[in-house]
């Protein structure tokens, strides 16, 4: 009996070791040792990037180019939601992660919580080439003028519809609530966008502080028209392609993908206003490679990269002014920024914990009915 048990324990230990020794086929683990001051030998550093999967930074024209430029390795870590991105930092990411992509929603929260550090933009070549209004986004700069986020891709979440099915011109959010489209509407499953959009529809004075009761009512109303709440490109494209939805709110990138694949889509900016957002690059607190991180930010802001990104089928609108200007008319049409990008944007911004929870509760209540 004892022999049997000891045999089992040995097998267990061997199995455990087997699992523990898997790394040879994996990408190298992030370095955790301090670098020694003698710099004679060039050790290959690894930059750890925290971003959405498939969103530009892990593409060939990004990673390969950067790795060559600076003789380093780039490693990606992916998250499936912005809050999880922050949690990754909170629970052990600090000291391992170099750069991350918070968006306008969470930027303020990120630096207030001490998760990201100020960026020395004077060391960046391309910072001044980025659009003014995005650079000076409230949440990105603190009272002392420290910059915490460098704007990157930006866009809108506006109204899109299938012009082959809907012949009239749509100019207002009211279309989503119209009985005509009952059961054919798709709405973005994100509490922030959902409430902001409803606030715009209700023509609230301050969309950031709407009357939540009225908003909840409006959203419940909308629910009767809604076929599905979408949360990814796929989620939307499938029913759109099969004709089950004909109108809804969508990311500009989504409209752009449909347009570029040759399918009919019309993307408009309703008169009440449009929800806008921007992604920002930030450097994590205790980043292991702060200099390399800064170079990454510069690279991400460069005209070269941003133009490549805009041409990517899943790309987004560049914030580099030169890139923007250099876009072909066709591409501008594909991004629905021809001839000019829209104004009247209500940018998604950070909220305090109570507001966030209150808004999430409203949205959960609506969904649960």
């Amino acid at each position: 009996m004892k022999k049997f048990i000891s045999l089992l324990i040995v097998v267990l230990m061997v199995t455990t070791m087997f699992v523990g020794c898997s790394p040879e086929e994996q990408q190298s683990e992030p370095p955790s040792e301090e670098e020694t001051p003698e710099v004679e030998e060039e050790e290959v550093k690894t930059l750890t990037v925290l971003n959405w999967k498939g969103y530009g930074s892990d593409a060939d024209y990004s990673v390969d180019v950067f790795e060559e430029m600076y003789n380093c390795k780039v490693e990606h870590v992916y998250f499936t939601s912005l809050e999880e991105m922050l949690t990754m930092l909170r629970t052990g990411g600090l000291g391992t992660i170099d750069v991350l992509l918070p968006n306008s929603n969470v930027l303020l929260q990120a630096w207030q919580e001490g998760l990201i550090q100020p960026i020395d933009t004077s060391k960046m070549e391309n910072y001044s080439l980025l659009r003014d209004d995005l650079r000076n986004f409230e949440d990105a700069i603190d009272e002392e003028g420290n910059v915490y986020g460098v704007p990157w891709a930006w866009g809108t979440t506006s109204l899109g519809y299938n012009p082959e099915v809907i012949e009239e011109d749509i100019t207002s959010w009211k279309a989503l609530w119209d009985d005509k489209y009952e059961g054919k509407v798709a709405y973005f499953d994100d509490y922030n966008t959902a409430i902001l959009t409803a606030a715009l529809y209700l023509e609230e004075d301050d969309p950031y502080n709407p009357d939540l009761e009225k908003v909840e009512e409006a959203l419940l109303d909308l629910k009767e028209n809604t076929r599905t709440y979408w949360s990814s490109y796929d989620d939307f494209l499938k029913p759109y392609g099969s004709g089950e939805i004909v109108i809804g709110n969508m990311w500009v990138g989504l409209a752009s993908t449909i347009y570029r694949s040759g399918d009919p889509v019309e993307y408009v900016y309703p008169e009440e206003g449009t929800v806008g957002w921007s992604d920002f690059w930030a450097i994590a607190t205790d980043a292991p490679n702060p200099d390399l991180a800064l170079k990454w930010l510069d690279f991400m802001s460069s005209e070269q990269f941003q133009t490549d990104f805009a041409n990517d089928p899943y790309g987004a609108i560049p914030s580099n002014v030169n890139s923007l200007e250099s876009l072909t008319d066709d591409l501008k049409k594909a991004f629905f920024i021809y001839p000019e990008p829209p104004t009247n944007l209500v940018m998604q911004a950070s909220q305090d914990e109570e507001t966030k929870q209150a808004w999430l509760d409203v949205w959960n209540n609506v969904k649960a009915q």
């Binding site: 809050e83 999880e84 509490y191 089950e244």
Partner: protein, 292 residues
């Protein structure tokens, strides 16, 4: 060495590894769960806590969202479980008793082949099958049974179909485990003594399959009740289940206190339900005269 006696002390050693694992990896997290249910909001990075409160619990019941979702989710859970049981009994019986023994292991392993891919892919495949202008809808359309430009997707029905598909193997395998052990002699004895199929089932097969049945119910009912991926993808606007509510407290905002409280109550409710089910099945078994 007293190897010939019942190894009672050996029993203690044998359950030691798993007991340790459960202690460290389950009981401590459970303790944390209960603890967090009473904190106010979040712990910040240095581990400080703002304060203690029972607000998380009161909040849960003040709006009816949680209660409503819980009822709905348990309802769907039970429905899916029942459908799985109905489909699985004959299937498990078939594998255990009807097919030639050389095929038994093969059939068992074939059941799990679909799950070597990801759950997500399977859901997408099912969506493809049922989508508008897809295979099934075109078929139904040509038979004039339904409008082929729409589909049953984005509804509670779609959620149930997907969940049954995903959890069927657990029920089949659980029932198989028990049914396979039923002595064939018992069955043929029962039949040669004149008991019909129903009586044989009632008195022999059912009672002896109860352990497998209860395991199967646990492994299907609980995960289905707490599921959130499926309702989000195919449930449509009215598809939300309680899993999404719990999930959003960690992935959309970080409200560990509320999230933990929700999970804790979920845990309690499901434990009670399982206990009730176990009792009912056992007493039903007694009342119809089955063996114990």
């Amino acid at each position: 060495m007293t190897d010939n006696e019942k190894p009672i002390s050996k029993g203690g050693t044998m359950i030691l590894p798993s007991s340790l694992l459960f202690l460290c990896l389950s009981l401590i997290p459970l303790g944390m769960l209960i603890f967090f249910s009473f904190i106010d909001g979040n712990i910040n990075m240095s581990g400080e806590i703002r304060g203690f409160t029972i607000e998380n619990l009161t909040r849960m019941f003040s709006s009816f969202t949680f209660t409503k979702l819980m009822f709905k989710s348990v309802g769907i859970g039970i429905l899916v479980t029942v459908i799985c049981i109905v489909i699985s009994y004959p299937t498990a019986w078939g594998i255990a008793k009807v097919v030639k023994s050389k095929y038994k292991n093969l059939l068992m392993m074939l059941i799990i082949v679909p799950f070597f891919t990801s759950q997500l892919l399977l859901i997408y495949a099912i969506m493809v099958i049922f989508q508008a202008k897809g295979v099934i809808m075109t078929l139904l359309g040509s038979l004039n049974l339904a409008d082929s430009s729409t589909s049953i997707l984005y509804s509670n029905l779609a959620v149930i179909i997907v969940l049954v598909y995903e959890y069927l193997p657990y029920m089949i395998l659980s029932l198989y485990t028990s049914i396979e052990g039923i002595d064939d002699n018992l069955i043929s004895a029962s039949q040669s003594l004149g008991a019909g199929r129903w009586n044989t089932f009632k008195n022999i097969v059912f009672p002896m399959s109860i352990p497998g049945l209860l395991s199967g119910i646990l492994l299907v009912l609980v995960p289905v009740t707490g599921s959130f991926v499926e309702p989000t993808l195919v449930g449509g606007p009215n598809g939300m289940m309680v899993g999404s509510l719990i999930n959003s407290q960690f992935t959309v905002v970080l409200n560990m206190g509320y999230g933990a409280a929700l999970s804790f109550v979920f845990l309690i409710i499901l434990s009670i339900i399982m206990a009730v089910i176990k009792k009912s099945i056992n007493s039903a078994n007694k009342s119809i005269g089955g063996m114990e």
